[in-house]
Amino acid sequence: MNDLNNKLNDILSRVNGIKITHKRNRRVRVDVPADSLTTLLELIKGQASYVHLSAITCVDWIKDNEFELVYHVWSYEENCLISAHTRIDRDEAKFVSVYDLYKPADFFERDIYEMYGVFFIGSPRMEKFILTEWHGMPPMRKDFDSEAYVQETFNWTEYNPDWLQELTDQGGGIAIKPEDIRLSGCLHNMATHRQRDKLKATQKVGKGWKS
């Protein structure tokens, strides 16, 4: 195991600006600057048999104004997973594709392009895939507030069919106030105060659930 680690460390240490962390058995985390990432992947694929791209993850660090891209690569021979972390500028949101090294990158890069708006130069299919009918901002970005979007777009108080009206007349209906829901503490956290106020103003609260 130590030989193996030494060999891997030798290969990894050839990459500029690399920081290696052995997290636990079979898990290695490396942090590299964005311009060294493809060098790193080429090295570990070509010289250390890391042929399986398990996933590419994008994390939106909005406070740092950066996207973090994480490449999880597995070696069938050494049974070890390298997670290569790199950060790119959030405003520019552009990076190079690794499709020529790993074919599965096609799927992951298209997914990230769609959900985060990061454009991968050289990726074969930079187009809509899952959200073909969506024209707003990439929804997985942290500044897209899905709950606010729902509040603005849909109005459930308009939904008042006859059967519900009858129930309400008998003292039933949709009568659970948000603060009466059992997990009110977490719901309180989830909705911002602004949305809660708006909710209170618009929601028709029925009677009879709790006197």
Partner: protein
């Protein structure tokens, strides 16, 4: 997303036609479509069209407490939900630096293997049905139901158990449960002959499945194929053995492989895996009564539970292949990011497009099902 046409459309002056298979098609395990360009009945090009099941799970999870997400994760794959719960729990445990008690780990193994048995029984029937053979489907679903009865017994839920929690499992097994499990395993083993006669040695099925959708080992590695689909190409890789989690390193089981890489090889690998799962479950029945102790490591009050900052990549072997959760915490009461790496995201898109090319229209449904893709893993 929505098919532009429901009838075959001729493309220009050529002999080529464009048609949609799906999104609702008896040959698909869920909702996704394949847009095909056909020349006669030969597929010139296939393009996967997903998104019909997108429910924004990853975004939802960022807005919910760590504990609330346990109710969301199993819904990402209906036929095989247990690996989702376990994988999420393992990732959170790794960030927190805790480990489930040994008894809980054995119970988790039992749940995972039962779920694999249920998923494979479902797949046999579905695969057979794509060749026009419906009896294995009825049998598979009926036998799967017996496994679901057991799930109901020890978790309370038939399909979505929501049984795991970071730190262990939620309930102790009911009295006499292991006996029931043992009886079920006896029954499933007694069915082996029937299944073999009906399906696995049935020449009509064998001739339809052999040589369809051939994937070479090199291509499988190229396209990121994992699980039974990879083992059907001759590579004996299994996360349970090669990246062991829970107590799999203490269990004795084989990794079935086939060399041909076609639809026939893939269903044979699943058949053999089913019996390996039974073998594992027998070991669990033997071992579990000897392990006493708690089933949960205490966690803080779930409503004010902050997981310390960190990240973890937890992989498990689901019935479809390598399933992984990448979870990032910034120290808050909700996950900062959860990424689900479903095995089907590789199988249902690029691999399927590659295999569909050059296939005959009548085989497309079989190729789709033989890859055993679970579309919600693509859409999430």
């Amino acid at each position: 997303m929505r098919p532009e046409n429901y009838q075959a459309v001729q493309l220009g002056e050529s002999n080529e036609y464009e048609i949609f298979i799906g999104p609702n098609h008896p040959g698909i395990e869920g909702n996704y479509a394949l847009k095909l360009v056909l020349d006669g009945d030969i597929v010139v090009k296939g393009t996967t069209d997903a998104g019909y099941l997108h429910r924004g799970f990853e975004k939802l999870m960022e807005g919910r407490l760590w504990i609330q997400n346990l109710a969301i994760v199993p819904r990402i794959c209906v036929p095989d939900p247990a690996p989702m719960e376990v994988s999420y729990s393992l990732a959170v445990e790794e960030i927190m630096g805790i480990e489930a008690p040994i008894r809980a780990q054995w119970i988790r193994v039992m749940q995972l293997e039962l779920s694999r048995v249920a998923a494979h029984l479902f797949t046999f029937g579905g695969h057979a049905a794509t060749t026009g053979m419906y009896t294995p489907m009825y049998w598979g679903v009926a036998d799967r139901d017996l496994v679901l009865d057991l799930f109901e017994d020890f978790t309370g839920g038939r399909v979505y158990s929501i049984y795991n929690i970071p730190g262990g499992v939620r309930r102790e097994l009911p009295n006499g449960f292991l006996e029931k499990l043992s009886n079920l395993l006896d029954y499933l083993e007694s069915r082996q002959n029937d299944y073999d006669n009906l399906l696995f040695t049935n020449q009509i099925f064998v001739q339809r499945a052999k040589g369809v959708g051939i994937l070479s080992k090199e291509d499988a590695l190229d396209y990121g194929v994992t699980g039974p689909n990879l083992r059907a190409c001759g590579l004996a890789f299994d996360v349970r053995r090669d990246d062991p989690y829970l107590v799999y390193d203490q269990l004795d089981f084989d990794i079935p492989t086939q060399q041909a890489g076609d639809a026939w090889a893939r269903i044979l690998v699943r058949r053999d895996e089913l019996f390996q799962s039974i073998r594992i479950l027998r070991q669990v029945i033997e071992k579990l009564p000897t392990i006493k102790g708690p089933i949960r490591t205490p966690i803080p009050n779930p409503l004010s539970w902050n997981v310390r900052a960190g990240e973890a990549y937890a992989r498990v072997e689901s019935s479809k292949g390598e399933l992984a959760y990448y979870v990032v915490s910034d120290g808050g009461d909700k996950p900062y990011r959860v990424h689900v790496r479903g095995p089907s995201s590789m199988h249902a898109v690029q691999t399927l497009e590659y295999l569909a090319k050059g296939a005959r229209l009548e085989d497309v449904a079989q190729i789709m099902f033989s890859l055993d893709a679970c579309p919600p893993e693509v859409d999430r």
